[in-house]
Structure formats: C-alpha cells, structure tokens
C-alpha cells in the first residue's frame, strides 16, 4: 500500500467515525420530539404506565387530537397566530425598508442621524425593561390592550430598528444612486422610484427579514401574553401555556396539544428549509 492509499483509507475511516458521531448526537437531539410523537397515539393510562413503549397496551389511538383541538380551540388560536404573524411581518418589511431608504439617502439630515443612533442604541434593550411601562402606558393610560392590532403594531415597533439596520446595509451597498437618478430623469418621483426601482431590488433582504421576524412573532410568548388577555384572542404559545395549566394531568391531551403547537412551523420548515437556514444565517451574521 502506498502512502497515498493509506492516507485515503485513513480519511475514509475518519469520515465514517464522524458520521456515526453525528448520527448519535442527532438522535439525542430529536429524542424529545420522538417521545412526543410516540406518546401522542397512546391513552393516558398507557403513557403513565410506560412512556417509552412504542405502542401502548390499549393500542393505537387518535382520540387525543380531536379533544385537544376542541379544548385548546385550535383553529381559532391558529388563526390568531397566523393573522398576527402575517400582518406584523408585512408591516415590518414595508415600514422598516422605507425608513431605511430615507435614512441612507439623507444620512446628513440631523433628525435622521438622531433617530438612526437611537434605533441602533435601542437594540441592546431587553424586553424586560420595557414590559412594565408598556403595560402601564397602553393598558392603564390608553386602555388599548386586548386588540390584535395593538399587538401587531407593537411587534412592528420592536423590530423596526433591527430590520431598518438590515435594509440600511442592503440599500447602501447594493443599490446604486445612478439607478435612481435615471428613474428620476424618466419622470418618477421619489415615491415611484422607491416602489418601482428600489423595493424590488431588495428581495433577498426582504426574505431574510421576513423569515427572522415571522419566526419571532409566531413563537413570542411574553409580549402577546401581556397584551392579549382575552381567551378568544390567544395565540398558539399563550393557548399552549393556558392549556397546560388546566389539563396538565391529562398527559395524552398535553402531548396532542404540544404536537399541534409545533406542527405548523415544522411543516413549513420541510418545504422552506433551505430558505429558513439561509435567512437565519445571513440575518445573524449581519446583525
């Protein structure tokens, strides 16, 4: 055997070892999900007697789902989550890209510098510092809590700085001023230039901002739980928490509720996996 062959063989063995290590870690990673999936098809008694068995003594059952869906009011909370996430994401994109546009093109205006620095500085403030005054102002003084629109606008307000920052970088580096000047000569005003020329060129950044924010809005618990106190306005995380509080002993139903809470985003992930991974990476690296 030559040295080259020996090295090649060694590399191959190393690769197999690494593959096995990865597989073991991967199985550990997804074990919690697998446990939920195998137990969701069991009766309450079977889960208690043996949570590790693949199939319970009383066999395979589907009846946890309809009951959990009814008790959790699944379609209603799913609708709420969907409505809030969609509206807030679209608004975030529109509002923050427009803000970024005016900030890039007029970076020398004093008011722009002021608001821009405020937005950048505010990104380090954790939500815990804002939650008490937020509830005091919008609950106590103005009394606008318990409306989905309030939550949507708050979501947008909290993410506008970060999203503006990402659009700011994209406009500054990717969109040449000459392109806009050409549009102006062709008779576009600023508003038309923005929507016809600049906004369409921002597509990759729009996708990144949309993915990061949509995931954050969909999974957020603390802010929605402070704003939406009425049962019919609950989003999925709040409904899961409330459901667990009431039915924690009925473990079969809990399993079904947890699976239902995860399912929408997991299904989405199967189809958009590549975009989500890319979006999250580029968002994290830029931000």
């Amino acid at each position: 055997m030559t040295d080259n062959e020996r090295a090649a063989r060694k590399k191959k063995i190393m690769n197999v070892i690494m593959w096995v290590v990865l597989l073991i870690v991967f199985i550990c990673f997804i074990t919690p999900f697998i446990l939920v999936i195998i137990n969701v098809f069991k009766t309450k008694g079977d889960i208690t007697s043996n949570p590790l068995a693949l199939i319970g003594e009383h066999g395979f059952t589907l009846k946890n789902f309809p009951e959990a869906m009814k008790k959790m009011n699944f379609w209603r909370v799913f609708g709420n989550s969907f409505f809030i996430t969609t509206c807030a994401t679209i608004l975030t994109i529109i509002v923050s890209s427009m803000t970024a546009y005016v900030f890039v093109r007029n970076g020398k205006w004093k008011f722009v510098t002021l608001i821009f620095s405020l937005m950048i500085a505010s990104m380090v403030i954790p939500f815990q510092v804002l939650m008490v005054p937020l509830v005091s102002v919008y609950g106590g003084l103005l009394g606008v809590l318990n409306h989905r629109i309030t939550l949507i606008l708050m979501h947008v307000g909290f993410s506008v700085s970060m999203a503006m920052f990402m659009f700011h970088g994209a406009i500054k580096t990717n969109i040449p001023l000459e392109l806009e000047e050409a549009a102006t000569i062709d008779g576009c005003n600023k508003w038309q230039t923005y929507w016809k020329i600049v906004f369409p060129l921002l597509t990759p950044t729009i996708a990144t901002v949309a993915i990061i924010n949509a995931m954050a809005y969909w999974n957020d618990y603390l802010l929605p739980s402070l704003v939406l106190k009425k049962k019919e306005l609950y989003t999925i995380p709040i409904a899961t928490q409330a459901f667990y509080g009431t039915y924690s002993t009925d473990i079969g139903l809990v399993m079904a509720a947890l699976l239902l809470a995860m399912l929408p985003i997991l299904i989405l992930y199967i189809f958009l996996q590549k975009y989500i991974v890319e979006g999250v990476t580029s968002g994290a690296v830029k931000g």
Partner: protein
C-alpha cells in the same frame, strides 16, 4: 423642486420614515423613559396616584435578597450555558463542514429546536424529565426514582441542558458560516509549512473565526441573561422558588406582587448587568481580531 427646504425635508421624512419612527418611539423610547420615571415611584399598577419616592426603589432592589439570589443563579446558569452552547455548537459546525454524506440534513436537523417557541420546548422537556427519564431511572434502579426537576440542582441542570439543546443549532449555523469564510488556501498553506491538521485548526482556522466566536458568545449571553419562556414552562421557579431566574423575578415583582416601581428598577439593573457583560465581552473579543 427645491431639495434643501425644511418643508421638503419634513415631507420626505414623514412620507417614508414617519410610520417607522412613530411606532419605534411609541413602543421603545416612550416606555423606556416612562420606565425611568416609574422607578422613582411606588406605584401598584392600579391606583391613580403614583407616589414619588425618589431612589427608594433602587435601595429596595439592592436589599432584595430574593432578587440577588435570582441574579446569582442567572449568572451561574448563563456562564455554564454559554460555555456549553458554544462548545457544542462549534463541535457540530466542525463535523457538518467536513463534507460528510448528508451534512445538509444534519445542519437542518440540529436547527429544529430554534423553530419552536420556548414555552412548547419547556413542556416537551418537562414530559421527558418527569416521565421518560423517570421511567428509565426506575427501570435501572428497580424502584421508583424521583424526577430531576424535583431537586434544586437537578432543576438548574435541566434548565442548562434545555438551553444548550435549544441554542446549539442556531450558534452552529453562525460557526458554519465562519468555517466557510476561512478559505482552503490558508489552511493548505499552513499544512505545506508543516502544520498537522490540528495545529492548522488551532493556529489558523480558529483565530480567523474570532468574529464568529465574539458574535455567538454575545448572542448566547444576551439570550441566557433574560431567559423567561423556558424557565416558566419547564420549572416555573420550582422546587421552592430555587430556579427563579432574574427575568422571572422581575415579572413576578411587577405583575404578581404589583410593585411596578421596584420591578422596573430591578429590570433596569438586570439590563445594566447584561449590557456591561455583553459589551465587555465584545470589546475583549474585538481587540485581538485578525484578518487573513
């Protein structure tokens, strides 16, 4: 059209940045300033009067033993979690950039916990710790074993384990981007100069990935310090309030015990501690940055 008149500027600004600025001021800046004012009052969140008490809330916060216990716990929890998250994430990133079969599948798989909210993750793990692990432990010991979540140290261990599991996949993606940014040429050059592959790793790749480390550590510190969702669903502060983290203490202080002023003062201190640790880390990290 004149472009440097005040009315032109105002019109342009309001047309494009108006909505963004108003929402930002309304939910970030105004509450932040109002929060500073609240720390100077002893408001209960309900009554119309907000009695002015000066700096009493800060004095009370500094002598609130429960708060500092929660803070100490948060620091320990964050320190251990941050180290483990980054070690695991870096190791995973190393393994999934080696060109092994199915590495994209593994990458996507390790990221899955990040797709799901902390509340749901916490309840899933509560089931795993309380039922599945107990079943395994009972089978091994032959008797009935207690759940890890019912002991003080066990609850902390569980919180750390879940945080590592939750964030490792996300940080892995950042480290993967870091690995990709170090070009193969540099590593090859090092090998030609006589490095073996582990020397090339320590002396070439890792120093060039410093920015990724700074960023991942910053992200994990800032997330661990204000952990709330998983804390609420996994342990809810139990047993005997021994796993209440600082963020949960702040929440309870304000919304459960109705001490809005004190709660806000404690939140502000938490923010300052977190910001000081985060910024120090970034400054130390950036100081020795190198470029290829």
């Amino acid at each position: 059209m004149k472009q440097n008149t005040l009315s032109y500027k105002v019109k342009q600004y309001l047309m494009f940045a108006g909505p963004g600025t108003i929402l930002f001021l309304a939910v970030v800046i105004i509450p932040f300033l109002y929060g500073l004012y609240l720390t100077l009052t002893s408001w209960d969140g309900v009554s119309a009067v907000k009695p002015f008490v000066g700096f009493d809330n800060f004095a009370a916060a500094f002598s609130d033993v429960d708060y500092w216990h929660a803070m100490g716990r948060t620091v320990i929890y964050s320190a251990i979690s941050v180290v483990l998250i980054n070690v695991v994430a870096f190791a995973l990133a190393y393994l999934v950039t080696k060109g092994i079969k199915g590495q994209n599948f593994f990458r996507a798989g390790f990221f899955v916990p990040n797709l799901i909210g902390g509340i749901v993750l916490g309840y899933i793990w509560k089931f795993v710790f309380n039922r599945a692990f107990v079943a395994i432990a009972s089978a091994i010991s032959g008797g009935s074993a207690p759940s890890l979540l019912s002991t003080t140290n066990g609850a902390m261990f569980c919180l750390i384990l879940v945080s590592v599991w939750q964030y490792a996949g996300y940080m892995m993606l950042i480290y993967v981007a870091g690995f990709m940014s170090v070009s193969a040429d540099v590593k090859e050059a090092a090998m030609i100069d006589g490095c073996n592959s582990s020397q090339a790793m320590w002396n070439v790749t890792i120093p060039l990935m410093r920015a990724s480390f700074v960023q991942c550590i910053f992200l994990s510190i800032t997330r661990c310090f204000v952990v709330y969702d998983v804390n609420l669903s996994l342990t809810n502060g139990e047993p005997f309030n021994s796993s209440v983290m600082a963020a949960m203490h702040v929440y309870n202080q304000a919304f459960t015990y109705k001490n809005y002023g004190l709660g806000q003062a404690e939140a502000l201190i938490l923010f300052i501690v977190c910001a000081v640790v985060g910024v120090t880390q970034v400054m130390i990290g950036k100081r020795g940055e190198v470029a290829a």
